[in-house]
Every structure is written in C-alpha cells, then in structure tokens.
C-alpha cells in the first residue's frame, strides 16, 4: 500500500524515506503524461506531453500482516499536481512534510489532499534554528481543521518517522470510519 511523503524542495523527504526504509532508498523515474492545459493554437487541440519525475522510493514490509508499505517521496510544488493523481490512487494517505520557515510550500499539497479527500498529517521537520512553532500556529497558518494531526518530526530519526506513520495510519482509519458512518453518503 502506498504512502506519500510530500513537501517542498529540500524539506527532507529523501532523508525521511531513508530513515525508515528497510531497503536502501531508490530513485524511481516515473513517466507521467501531462494533459497540457494550453490548447495548441494551430491545431486547436490539447496537446499531451510526457514528463519524467524522480521519486524517492523506500519500503517497509509488515511481514506478519502480508503487506508492503511503499513510501513515495514526491515533490510538492503545484506544477506536479498532475502526477499526484497517479500516486494518490490507492494510497493510504500523505505525510505533508513542512518546514516552518517555508510553510507556504505546503499550501498546494494541503489543498490537493483536502480536495481529493486523501487523509494527511502535517509533520513539521524540526530544523535547527527554525522557529519552534506550536502545532496550533502551524494549523492556523495552513488553515487545516483540528482533526488533522500536526506532529513534530526529525526526518533523520527512524523512531520519530515511525511515530508519524503510525499517526497517519490512525488518522486514515478515523477518517474512513467517519466516511462510513450512516450520516454521510460517502
């Protein structure tokens, strides 16, 4: 089952995947077909271009459960939205990795997850010298509801990353249970 690790450039996605993956982290070149929003002025049709994006890849095998958790570190810039659809299909959820110095980098990913109703948690990667925001301040800055967990995380520390993944799995279960409740149609 897929778990996405999404965040801005240089926020620590590669480090996070490497900290918890049981295999040496890999780079996977994923070809994605991008339906261009621009219409070709001459032909008058939408052109398609193929872009290749490098993803960080790592894995955690839950042997007793016959499951492989596949970790995909993906870039969080809005121009990669077209790619997230492929990745988000069948995914458990997303870890949005945030740097408090550049919280704006998370806006696009958060908006995407909310639109797609993909469960997500915010993991604030604690850089040295970064402002130690409180969870509520991060929550306010990103405009996310109180149900969405906001956690501190050290992307270098396996135990810290593990705690984030457990929080994501708990949250995903809670979200999906709520969606199943009879008061909601979906």
């Amino acid at each position: 089952m897929k778990i996405l690790i999404v965040g801005g450039y240089g926020v620590g996605k590669t480090t996070l995947v490497g900290a918890i993956s049981e295999i040496e982290p890999l780079t996977t070149e994923a070809d994605v077909t991008e339906a261009s929003t621009e219409r070709d002025p001459i032909v008058g049709i939408e052109s398609k271009t193929t872009t290749t994006v490098a993803l960080d890849f790592g894995r955690i095998t839950l042997r007793r459960r016959w499951l492989q958790l596949l970790l995909f570190g993906a870039p969080g810039q809005p121009r990669f939205w077209f790619m997230w659809d492929d990745l988000a299909t069948g995914a458990l959820g997303a870890v949005v990795l945030a740097d408090t110095r550049r919280l704006a980098d998370c806006f696009a990913v958060v908006e995407y997850c909310e639109q797609r109703r993909l469960p997500f948690v915010i993991a604030v990667n604690e850089f040295d010298h970064a402002d130690r925001y409180l969870a509520d301040e991060v929550r306010d800055a990103l405009g996310i509801p109180t149900q969405v967990p906001v956690l501190r995380c050290d992307a270098r520390d396996p135990a810290s990353v593990h705690a984030v993944l457990v929080a994501l799995a708990e949250h995903a279960l809670a979200v999906r249970r709520a969606q199943r409740s009879p008061s909601r149609k979906d």
Binding site: A30, A54, L70, A159
Partner: protein, 123 residues
C-alpha cells in the same frame, strides 16, 4: 543522484533510444500496472530470458517487488519496467503478488491491518 522532482535530462535522446530498444520500441504496457503493483516469480520452470528480463526475474525470486522498486534497482524508467514485467507476466514467468495497488484505501479491515502492523515494529 538526482533530487526528487528534478526533470530527466531532456537531451538524453541516445539514452532514451537505448531504453526503448529494450522494449522493442513498445511504449505502452499490455496490462494496467501501477508503481505499487507487486510481482513475484510464478511456480514452474522459468522460460529462457536474458538481459533486463532475467534481472527482473532474479530480483523477484527473492521476494515480491513493486514496479517502483524494480525501476529503481534497474535504473530504468517505470514505463519501461512495466513493459518488461508485462512480458514476464504474459510468459507466465511472473505472477501478481497481492494486488496491493488495487487495495481499497477505504477498506477499514485493511487499514486496521496496516495500523496493527506498524505498531508491531519499533525503531
């Protein structure tokens, strides 16, 4: 090592040509595979293989591997690996492991398994 998100070098046409020579010029896999699709070796005698096909088969003999992992290990684009894996599936040399990518992320039983499994491991 590239950072995630760095576009592939557009000028690498020679490399691209070499890649597609691996697939006999095919650019579309015969089956619908996802980066998370898991495959392992099928029982029975493996057919004659060489090159990347043999590499993939050998890797999947050890354990089930995802398309993403095979692509990373072979250092080939995922599309190319999907085509090669389809060849092996069509030849009966590989078979699908648990169809993880088709797993329904709204399936509560499955989510409970994931959570229990994650809680069982410690770092």
């Amino acid at each position: 090592m590239q950072d995630a998100g760095t576009p592939w070098d557009e000028d690498d046409d020679i490399d691209r040509l070499r890649l597609y020579s691996l697939t006999g010029g095919r650019t579309v896999p015969t089956r619908s595979l996802d980066l998370a699709s898991l495959v392992h070796v099928a029982s029975g005698d493996p057919p004659q293989m060489d090159g990347e096909h043999a590499q993939i088969h050998a890797l999947c003999r050890v354990e089930a591997r995802s398309i993403a992992e095979l692509a990373g290990l072979l250092r080939q684009p995922a599309t190319v690996v999907k085509i090669l894996v389809c060849d092996l599936l069509d030849a009966g040399a590989l078979s699908h492991a648990t169809p993880d990518f088709e797993s329904d992320p709204t399936d509560l039983k499955l989510l409970e398994r994931v959570l229990a499994g994650l809680r069982e491991i410690s770092f």
